[in-house]
Amino acid sequence: MPDIGPPPASLYAAHRKIYPRAVQGRVRRAKWAVLGILLGLYYLVPWLRWDRGPGVPDQAVLVDMQHARLFFFWIELWPQEVYFLTGLLILAAIGLFAATSLFGRVWCGFACPQTVWTDLFMWVERRIEGDRNARMKRDAGPPSRDRTLRRLAKHAAWLGIAAVTGGAWVMYFQDAPTLVRDPLGASMETWFFFALFTATTYVLAGFAREQVCTYMCPWPRFQGAMLDQDSLVVTYRDWRGEPRGKPKDAGSGDCVDCSACVQVCPTGVDIREGQQLGCIGCGLCIDACDDVMRKLHRPQGLIGFETLANLAASTAAAAELEPGPARHAAGMAARRPLRLLRPRTLMYAGVLSVVAITMLGALMLRETLSLTVLPERAPPFVRLSDGGIRNAYLLKLADKSREGGRYTLVLEEAPGLRLLVQDVATDAAGRPLLPVQGDGVASFRALVTAPRAIERQPIRFRLLDVAGRPLAAAESIFLGPQP
């Protein structure tokens, strides 16, 4: 019979439910700490207050869509300054690249919201339905009142957490105390986003879980480009563990094939198969394996945060040796210290500091008063009875401070040009005084007149404060008839 190959596989894979087992250890404690800090920040930050004076929101962090303002403690941004947000996203992206090239998937394993909320949901699940074995047994068993009640309780708790999550989300866009005091007074949009984030939290952390990491998230697909031989990744030290066997078997390595590492894995992968897309680098298998090694009175660290360079060095050093303490010592001795300073990480650090300094500079040099000049180009210029030429300009004066004021407008380096602003008062010298309210934009129409036909030339509008000190300026062009 000719070789016709294996039968065609299904185009669609059925979902394999994962029952991660609880685990204790150093990594788990670190994960709980990170989870506590991140969730604490997320739920509590909307409640921080920051006094900005009367008539202004006193919420420390607030994205005020209705009035188009972003408040962050002492910073208040207008929509046209959205580039600060862009800069922040660039910082976050490069920071992610740098952290990944240094320590592997620490973002995925410790700080990603998908991981944090899934961890929280799994904790709730264990409290109500028990650990891995109890859950598997109950799910496989016949329907029972107990199972139904536990499931109901679990989903109710999940929905409760999801609702608090969705509720906290909308509080970043609304005054938090007002929203809690009078939820029925909230707008339809608020309710919509509350429902949306409640639903996504419930579905993503309760059901989708590792499917998000393996199928939806683009990050695992290209983060391989940030990793190299010197990045710390969760690694099974196969040179020490293989060949697997029972603890008493002579000639077997340290791995006793207990599958503890697989049972605790939140994405259900087997770390002993090497680097893989499904591994989010959370390190829970390290805790599980260390626990087993401790009980067997063998050195910990059969699975650990290790670089691929060190893994290769250990493998080479241990290759000829029989399983046992000597092989372990030889392999561990071949390891080199962590190389944190590498061309790749230095480059990331460089880009990170350039962007950070640029943004900091932009933030500190940010002016609260800005002048924009739009020349009217229909018509480009007007010819007057006496042969003079007049141009019209639309001025927009934005005052981002809360005080407001009156500013004198002058033309710089434009001898012979007369400036008139419609509908405003003038000072003693006949110069126009532009009033603007604090936290507002005022528009004015300026007419600039040349006594005779002149050619096009650049002009500059300059604002002066009451003491005559120069403030914001704006460039424009004065047009005349072509010669």
């Binding site: 596989a9 007007v382 007049r390 019209a392």
Partner: protein, 284 residues
């Protein structure tokens, strides 16, 4: 075309046969929930088609149309603007210009009304057009540039034959009124001299005193009462070269403008008045 598929040694997964620079694509199966999500979007689309107009000539169950949405928004906006429009209707242009709130509204409304009704001849910014469409942004006014004069011109128009109060004087065509072409040439040179743009021409000066000064003034200063344009400035309605001026004298040229009273309501005419006055040439 896909090459023959094979099994990837590292993962044990079949490949699709596609290869790019040695990188081969694994043929992992899709998760089935992905497929169900796709079905759910199809179901959602069917529901959408039922409720909203998604097919030609079929109204959705909700009766929603983009035209209806627009009408609803327009009705809301008009209801909001109604009290302001009532005030604009009752007030004089002077009162509107003096009050900041009314003036701001009038300038915004006037800009739209100007674009709808006036820009076709006078240009988008009131810059006018060659051939008898005067600029409204300069400081030269044939019938006066005060708010009241501007409103009168807008209401009744110019030489339109439909409104009794329309501005309506006309200049004779002097070629038919007895002057010869050489005389008209002399006259044109004198007219240009009034704005320092032509040579002195004593014959032209004498002809000007006899035929033109009555309306245009002895020094060509114009007369707004009869709509005789100023001739001693740099602004020319039909061109300022000798040929154009000669042609104007010989054949007479006069534009027309419709009467807007009856076509636009009083509030719109008031807004237009304030807007045109603010274009740059407004007089007290």
């Amino acid at each position: 075309m896909a090459k023959q598929t094979e099994t990837d040694a590292a993962t044990g997964v079949a490949t699709t046969g596609h290869e790019w620079d040695g990188i081969r694509e694994l043929d992992n199966p899709m998760p089935s929930w992905w497929l169900y999500t796709f079905y759910a979007t199809i179901a959602f689309a069917l529901v959408w088609v039922m409720f909203y107009p998604a097919l030609p000539f079929v109204r959705g169950l909700l009766g929603n149309t983009a035209r209806g949405d627009l009408a609803a928004v327009m009705a809301t906006e008009q209801a909001k603007a109604a009290p302001m429009l009532a005030r604009l209707r009752a007030a004089t242009p002077e009162a509107i210009a003096a009050e900041p709130e009314l003036r701001t509204f009038a300038l915004a409304g006037g800009r739209i009304a100007f674009a709808n009704s006036c820009a076709g001849c006078h240009g988008a910014g009131g810059q006018g057009a060659p051939g008898g469409f005067p600029s409204l942004a300069d400081d030269d006014w044939i019938y006066g540039g005060s708010l009241e004069e501007i409103r009168t011109t807008i209401r009744h128009g110019v030489r339109n034959g439909e409104a009794a109060e329309a501005r309506g004087t006309a200049m004779p065509a002097f070629l038919q009124a007895g002057l010869t072409m050489p005389q008209i040439g002399d006259l044109a040179e004198h007219v240009l001299l009034l704005s320092d743009a032509g040579p002195a021409n004593p014959a032209g000066a004498a002809l000007f005193a006899d035929n033109c000064a009555a309306c245009h003034g002895e020094r060509g200063e114009g007369n707004r009462q009869v709509g005789a344009p100023r001739l001693n400035d740099r602004i020319w309605l039909y061109g300022g070269d000798k040929a154009s001026v000669t042609r104007s004298i010989a054949y007479s040229r006069a534009g027309v403008m419709p009467a807007w009273e009856g076509r636009l309501d009083a509030a719109t005419i008031n807004m237009l008045t304030v807007y045109v006055h603010a274009l740059g040439g407004g007089e007290q």
